[in-house]
């Protein structure tokens, strides 16, 4: 997807469940579904996943699929090595506000810098890595 001619080095997925149980998120990536943590008592999503609900302070939490539709809230393009995007510069990075009322940090791997603007509608795509996939977004 990168517009760079040089092939990016194979990026690998991080280990799962090191912080909290995130296995539903990772199973979702294998099923091509974006699953985020959901507080059933409050009816709201939260991301990244937490050990408790931000809305109730309780551990009643589940995982639900989101639509994958949202809008760009903020967007930048990384242009230098050493920021974690070596080999895939320029790397477009955005904060996406999903329809479900939760914000997610994601790359826009098909977009050139300046192409995606704040307020633009975006939808879920998948960034294919060496050993799996990671959620990303593209302009709708």
């Amino acid at each position: 997807m990168s517009k760079d001619n040089a092939p990016a080095p194979a990026r690998k997925l991080p280990s799962e469940n090191l912080y909290v149980d995130s296995s539903a998120f990772w199973q979702g990536t294998r099923d091509k579904k974006l699953l985020l943590q959901y507080c059933p008592l409050n009816g709201r999503f939260q991301h990244f996943p937490r050990p408790i609900s931000l809305y109730t302070g309780r551990r009643d939490l589940e995982w639900r699929e989101v639509s994958g539709r949202g809008r760009v809230y903020a967007v930048t393009a990384l242009r230098t090595n050493g920021l974690g995007a070596d080999g895939r510069l320029p790397c477009v990075l955005a904060l996406i506000d999903l329809e479900e009322g939760v914000r997610i940090l994601a790359n826009l791997p098909g977009c050139a810098p300046g192409e995606a603007r704040i307020g633009d509608a975006v939808h879920l795509v998948w960034d294919e890595l060496a050993d799996g996939r990671y959620p990303a977004f593209a302009k709708s």
Partner: protein
């Protein structure tokens, strides 16, 4: 419990240098020895110590205790301060509390770091799974996003950001502890020609890592008088907040904790922003300075650029800004960089600013910013107003 005023009575700072090859312990030792020499305090009299958590020693949970061993200090009050760029400010307040409670009498707030020599911080937590795959975990990414949103809401004025960088560079020229390579004046053309790191953030909006250390001495006025330490500063106001808006998944990322703590701070001090004689704000990026001017109430929200362009920010001006050059121009010695601007505030209020001395140095507003969170501005905001006792 003493009712005697307790404050800062001494300071020491070693020069910022790039890739010294030295450890945080060694750099800390140099700053600590300089503090003892400058204040006449004997090694065995130091009974309180706060150590700032360092990027270069990031994996060691015993850093503070090891520092005691390294320096031969036997404290009855020991603190590891770990709010990133707020660590120095918050440690001074906690040291004052410890002295007031009688846990110690002679407290040192010690910050040293050597991230340009070795970087051993491993942040773990949510970053590994939810920020690093997208390359979203490092400060330039976070501030590129923040600036893009600010530009959308209010518009960015490149000349204002350039002015912050140029004024501070002018101050670094006069600061012999600043990184040598940054001690040349900066022109608008050079600023505008500097490369973009994370749109629209430029290299010259940013700090440069280096190695360095500083130390502050905290005690009561009686204790200071007994030692003929006649200069003393009191934090007449202090406020901090961590994880501002932390339960709102759609919070405005251009709004930081300073919005919440600004009114509280000025009420405590019994003053208004117009009464601030000098501003020594935490400066990891130029936009952070502009945002703090707005959020602390120097000007309305969204008008920070105009305020910067309309105000003389030089050491000789109306609102002197980071008179030592700040981290952007003196260098950022890792997490010892937070107290860099605090030490400069103390130096100025002691009247020891040399050729960059601010006239009528009656107070200073010093701030801290700490820790890059997930998809927000920053984690901890802290602000202190210092005045002579």
């Amino acid at each position: 419990m003493t009712t005697d005023p307790i404050g800062i009575v001494g300071y020491a700072e070693i020069p910022n240098r790039f890739r010294t090859g030295r450890s945080a312990y060694d750099l800390a030792g140099e700053a600590f020895a300089a503090l003892l020499e400058r204040t006449g305090v004997a090694l065995d009299e130091v009974d309180g110590l706060s150590v700032t958590a360092a990027l270069s020693e990031g994996t060691n949970p015993f850093f503070a205790a090891y520092m005691c061993e390294a320096l031969g200090v036997t404290p009855t009050w020991l603190n590891l301060s770990a709010t990133g760029g707020c660590s120095g400010l918050s440690a001074v307040m906690r040291a004052i509390s410890a002295v007031r409670e009688g846990h110690c009498r002679v407290a040192v707030v010690l910050s040293a770091d050597a991230p340009s020599t070795i970087y051993r911080a491993d942040f773990g937590a949510q970053r590994t799974e939810f920020q690093e795959p997208q390359a979203a975990a490092r400060p330039p990414a976070a501030f590129g996003l923040l600036m893009s949103r600010y530009a959308h809401q209010h518009g960015l004025k490149e000349d204002a950001l350039a002015k912050i960088a140029m004024v501070q560079r002018g101050h670094a020229v006069m600061n012999e502890n600043a990184l040598p390579k940054l001690r040349t004046p900066l022109t608008l053309e050079e600023y505008k020609a500097s490369r973009v790191v994370a749109d629209p953030l430029r290299l010259l909006d940013s700090v440069m890592f280096c190695d360095g250390a500083n130390a502050l001495l905290v005690m009561s006025r009686d204790e200071a008088r007994r030692r003929q330490l006649d200069k003393m500063l009191l934090p007449t106001a202090y406020a901090e907040v961590t994880n501002h808006n932390g339960r709102d998944p759609l919070a405005d990322i251009t709004e930081s904790g300073f919005t919440a703590l600004g009114p509280r701070l000025f009420k405590q001090a019994g003053m208004a922003p117009k009464d601030v004689r000098m501003f020594q704000p935490y400066d990891d990026f130029t936009i952070a300075v502009q945002l703090q001017l707005e959020q602390l109430g120097f000007c309305p929200r969204g008008q920070g650029a105009d305020f910067v362009l309309d105000t003389d920010l030089r050491h000789s001006g109306d609102l002197p800004l980071n008179t030592g050059g700040g981290q952007i121009s003196a260098g950022q010695p890792g997490l010892a960089g937070g107290p860099l601007n605090l030490v400069e505030g103390v130096r100025q209020l002691f009247g020891e600013g040399g050729e960059r001395q601010v006239s009528d140095a009656r107070n200073a507003l010093v701030t801290g910013i700490g820790v890059i969170p997930y998809g927000r501005n920053w984690s901890t905001s802290a602000a202190m107003i210092l005045e002579a006792a």
